[in-house]
Symmetry: C2
Subunit: 361 residues, 2 copies
């Protein structure tokens, strides 16, 4: 059996291990191996994950922190984090969800209206994907609490300009404020008055590692426990290139009309050969196929079925048209369900955001 999400990689993951000190995910116990993201190596790396997991398995207090940047449409790439949150929430682990509106406003220059709209939409999708709004501590960075802002302000004295520049590159006042507040997102639940010291896991894509590094450095300097993190592989776009919010044809959005999403899947890059004849002779190439990638990341939870599909493809027995047709059926059914859930959850998300959002300008 081959499970190789690595073939869909678009960034140099090796460098994360050698240059940035991220560790490889190792042994999986019976709970973790029940999660396809772990089992298939899609969650590939971590910092101090096993300490966090052992604390959980030993009945100690642990929690999850995740951040959401209200920017762009919500697509399948975002779903990967939500799948993890739902997995942990179902284990009874408390989830905190920070909406990074300070960065959205100060760095990405989104207007309040844009932020409201995108945040409502993201939250709606999170809930439609299974995150329980009642069990999730959702907040916007601009509406948290005095101890949280106090933490962010005081941490400004615990890091030098050169250190922040080394982590983030060129700085601006907005980037510095955002980075410090993100460190407060990750660390504030360890404060007295919140939960007190405990291990916090932040499941992210590798592009978010700078925030993890800053928060870990700061935690050490202010007497808190360094947060743990895991890293998941980014899906490639439907065109086999980098998935990007600026290229609508590279992703399936949960917001677009279902027929648009299906059309994109129909046009996705496959691992098929030039002709049907050649394909029957040489077999297909699933590791180059975005359809296979969609099964791998999202739409085939059974390893046996996935492995069978790979073998059938590689042997030339499964032709692209049939493989794609089956995926289209699954996606259509799934999107119909998601869209129905979104109708249900949108008012809840709207109420949540309206209660939090309060911009002076």
């Amino acid at each position: 059996m081959q499970m190789d999400p690595w073939s869909t990689r678009t960034i140099d993951y090796e460098k994360l291990f050698t240059d940035f000190g991220i560790d490889r995910i190792g042994k999986l116990d019976e709970i973790l191996s029940g999660n396809p993201l772990f089992r298939r190596g899609i969650i590939f790396g971590h910092r101090d994950f096993y300490q966090w997991w052992n604390d959980f398995r030993n009945g100690k207090k642990v929690s999850i922190l995740t951040g959401m940047m209200p920017s762009g449409p919500f697509h399948l790439g975002h779903k990967m984090v939500v799948d993890q949150l739902v997995f942990y929430q179902n284990l009874g682990i408390p989830i905190t969800l920070a909406i990074a509106d300070v960065e959205a406003r100060t760095v990405r220059k989104k207007t309040p209206d844009e932020i409201r709209e995108i945040t409502v939409n993201y939250l709606t999708n999170y809930f439609a994907l299974g995150l329980d709004p009642k069990k999730t501590d959702v907040y916007m960075q601009t509406s948290r609490s005095v101890p949280y802002y106090r933490l962010a302000s005081l941490m400004a004295g615990k890091v030098t300009f050169a250190e922040m520049e080394a982590i983030y590159g060129t700085l601006s006042p907005g980037k510095i404020a955002s980075a410090l507040i993100q460190a407060a997102d990750i660390l504030h639940k360890q404060l007295d008055g919140y939960e007190g010291k405990h291990r916090i896991l932040v499941p992210v894509g590798p592009d978010q590692d700078p925030h993890i590094r800053l928060a870990r450095d700061l935690a050490e300097r202010i007497g808190l426990i360094k947060p743990s993190s895991t890293y998941h592989i980014f899906m490639k776009g439907l065109d086999g290139q980098k998935m990007s919010s600026s290229k609508p044809n590279s992703y399936i959005s949960l917001d677009e009309p279902i027929e648009d999403a299906l059309r994109k899947v129909k046009n996705a890059l496959t691992g098929g050969r030039i002709s049907l004849e050649e394909q029957k002779k040489l077999g297909g190439e699933p590791d180059k196929c975005m359809i296979f990638s969609l099964y791998l990341y999202h739409f085939e939870l059974s390893d046996e079925e996935l492995d069978n599909r790979r073998r059938m493809c590689e042997s030339g027995k499964l032709i692209c048209g049939d493989c794609k047709k089956e995926l289209l059926d699954r996606i259509e059914k799934w999107l119909v369900d998601i869209h129905a859930k979104k109708v249900k959850y949108r008012p809840i998300a709207e109420k949540m955001v309206d209660e939090m959002m309060d911009y002076p300008f």
Copy 2:
């Protein structure tokens, strides 16, 4: 009559008018000319002061914001701001006093214990000098409110790195965080939920003008009224050089034993001549005399008496020993009174600080 606090200047005040756009204080109405700091030109410059003052005279809402940096001993230099606050408070104008503990901790690296001690002591002195604790809105930057921090965070997106560098010189994360929170100090009372838009005056020494400039630029960009400011001349030190917290002999502290303060006054630089004979012939030089400066800034509220003292000195009739003796008597009497008041106000200041101070590290 000559009132020339300019002779005691240690910085290039002219440049403030020509290069930085500070305006000269002009006409004084009957209320302002009742205040020796205005009347003697010690408060020498301003930005939009008259708009603020006219709003006050016309019965519109106005307020005062002042900041206190808990750093070093409390001396007569600090008294000049307090004298202004008391003047305005007696006119019924609301005073807000921000304790700049974010800068104290992140930039000046003061410990929580140092900050507690210094803040209690400063507040005690403010109250002993006549500021009414019941009528003053005192807060520490680390313990304010969500709308205040929200304002500071969002303003990070309204100023560029280059602009902050032009105002403050070399930056650090601590300096950027402190500068933004100081802008929030100056502006937050204009928020809905506080007092709403109104003119705020910030009476400062010219060294604080960078904060005023940043706050004024930001106010314009976020739809608030630009804050007004006044600037007072710094007293020289007792040695005729710059008064500095790092040179205890350059200042009279309200915290030190009275005999130490009096000894320093005895040793202060005077405008006396080499010999008594020469002094009787040429007269003294009050504009070079730190004793005269103490009368001018603090211990002679009557212009007639001050002018008389100048004439007596310049004509050689008043010799330094007598002039100094009279000042020593006044200072001693005054310090005895202040020390007694400090005993009364210290528990009030302690309670205030203990209720506000809450550092996670």
